[in-house]
């Protein structure tokens, strides 16, 4: 003896509680829903630490380091304050997108990704939501920096506002990918605590805190290969009129691909079943 035959209870195929069966079709877009963005943003903005580091701190930096240079001009006569403001907008956007992308680390650590695998949400739709959240937050970061700059008296032509803002924002996509890459690399709840200093060093090499030209020669050469260099140059080009070097473009393309492919590979490893 060991096993009795299965004795099913009376088989109930009809469900008295639901006269019409529920809609069992697959969700559109793999479960990607713009409404989730709203909840994600509320969630991010509720976090005081994120708020302080991504949205408030760069604006305060501008007031501390940018404003004292009022009245000084670049070679082409444009204000130095605008140069500082645009640089800090790039910094704000990269911190914002990195932290939003890096949120997957927290969600993996908490086991939320596992919970999501029990829903129709496709992994690609999940990543798309994270990227969209990151980019929305990045846009918000750029806008806040610009509003603070304008309020503090920065005056530049409209096309420079728009082009520099767009470049700072779109360039931060590299860091959304970087955040995802780190997020899939380390499942830690407080991943931003150690990414923060890394971002600050990268920002320095990208000329976001001081112009790259003031760095020692060796560091200037090395800076050209770091991931913020290209996006910094691109964002400031409309202001300085210097144009964008091939090295800058190559830099952006390389790092976008590197972080994008890296994140995709880790993502596939993460969603593979064991």
């Amino acid at each position: 003896m060991s096993t009795l035959p299965a004795t099913p209870a009376a088989t109930r195929t009809d469900r008295p509680d639901r006269p019409t069966p529920p809609d069992r079709r697959l969700p559109a877009l793999g479960g990607f829903a713009p409404a989730v963005l709203g909840i994600e943003l509320r969630r991010v903005l509720r976090n005081r630490r994120t708020l302080a580091f991504t949205l408030i701190m760069p604006a305060v930096f501008f007031l501390i380091f940018g404003l004292p240079q009022r009245g000084q001009t670049l070679d082409n006569g444009r204000p130095v304050t605008a140069y500082v403001m645009i640089s800090l907008a790039v910094y704000a956007a990269m911190v914002a997108t990195t932290s939003a992308g890096g949120a997957v680390a927290t969600e993996r650590a908490l086991g939320w990704s596992r919970q999501l695998r029990l829903t129709p949400l496709r992994p690609t739709a999940y990543v798309a939501t994270k990227v969209a959240t990151a980019m929305t937050l990045g846009l918000l970061a750029v806008v806040i920096e610009f509003v603070v700059g304008a309020a503090a008296g920065v005056r530049i032509p409209l096309d420079v506002w728009l082009l520099s803002g767009l470049a700072a924002w779109l360039g931060s996509l590299v860091f959304a990918a970087f955040g995802l890459f780190i997020g899939y690399l380390v499942p830690a709840e407080n991943v931003m605590q150690f990414i923060g200093p890394i971002l600050a060093v990268l920002a320095m090499f990208g000329g976001l805190f001081v112009p790259v030209e003031v760095l020692p020669h060796v560091l200037q050469q090395a800076a050209k290969f770091t991931p913020v260099y290209g996006m910094g140059e691109l964002a400031r080009a409309p202001l300085t009129g210097d144009g964008v070097s091939m090295a800058g473009v190559a830099n952006m393309v390389f790092w976008t691909l590197a972080f994008g492919i890296g994140a995709a590979r880790l993502f596939r490893r993460d969603t593979a079943r064991v």
């Binding site: 559109a28 989730v36 969630r43």
Partner: protein, 299 residues
Amino acid sequence: MTSTHPAVELNGLTKTFGTVTAVDGLNLVVQPGEVVAFLGPNGAGKTTTIDMLLGLARPDAGTVRVLGGTADEAVARGRIAAVLQTGGLLKDLTVGETVRMTAHFYRHTRPAAEVLERAGIADIADRIVGRCSGGQQQRLRFALALLPDPDLMVLDEPTTGMDVEGRRDFWQALRRDARDGRTVIFATHYLDEADAYADRIVLVRQGRIVADGTTAEIKNLAAGRTVRATLPGADQAALAALPGVDAVEVRGDSVLVRTGDSDAIARHLLTRTAARDVEITSRNLEDAFLALTTERIGA
């Protein structure tokens, strides 16, 4: 719809981790509408089986069919939902936001307010998840599982870590919901939960099913029943020779017969002997559980 297929068909399911065989050629068929307890000690392979049932883990051998299709299909269409032991929640969302966000991942769900109500957490919808008790978080997981109105609900030790009151509230919520004909499979190592809430108990040990039947059958399986009667001068040898008798003990005027067929023994005692004060007692589920999960039965 669900009528032509079993809710679950596991065939020769096997999963090993290194040298440990967690699930060892497990076969199981669950029909629609059954409430099945998956009962076994820690490490019996319950969670691994459930992971494979949900498509979270891939079997090394064997097949899984859920509602006539694959587990992934059932998940994608919201036909299967689960409350996991380890299923995480986002601590910085509110209870209500968690439900509304999850609802967006489906084509169609029951209203958020309704599942919160059914799970008994409508009053804490605005609370941040990180500030909820373990029991409240578990009921939130249950609310999430209710969203798609699944045909099959799977729960992996859903009340682990809850206090007595929390456990009772949780099972009441589940029972209110399950009586409508949803198929429910839950893993537990609490015997009383299996006894109280399941129609059918599947006992697992070392990755195999060691017994499968109704609660009464499982109890009977391990220990049979004891028939006690007052019968002065009982003929011990004659009683022991009756079919289905395991043991006969005479204590003064009392006779105790251990048997797998208590009805026949009682009938015999009452009609063929002078026995009176006949009592039939079954050993409880705990005895059955211990017997079946700690020693080899009929190997």
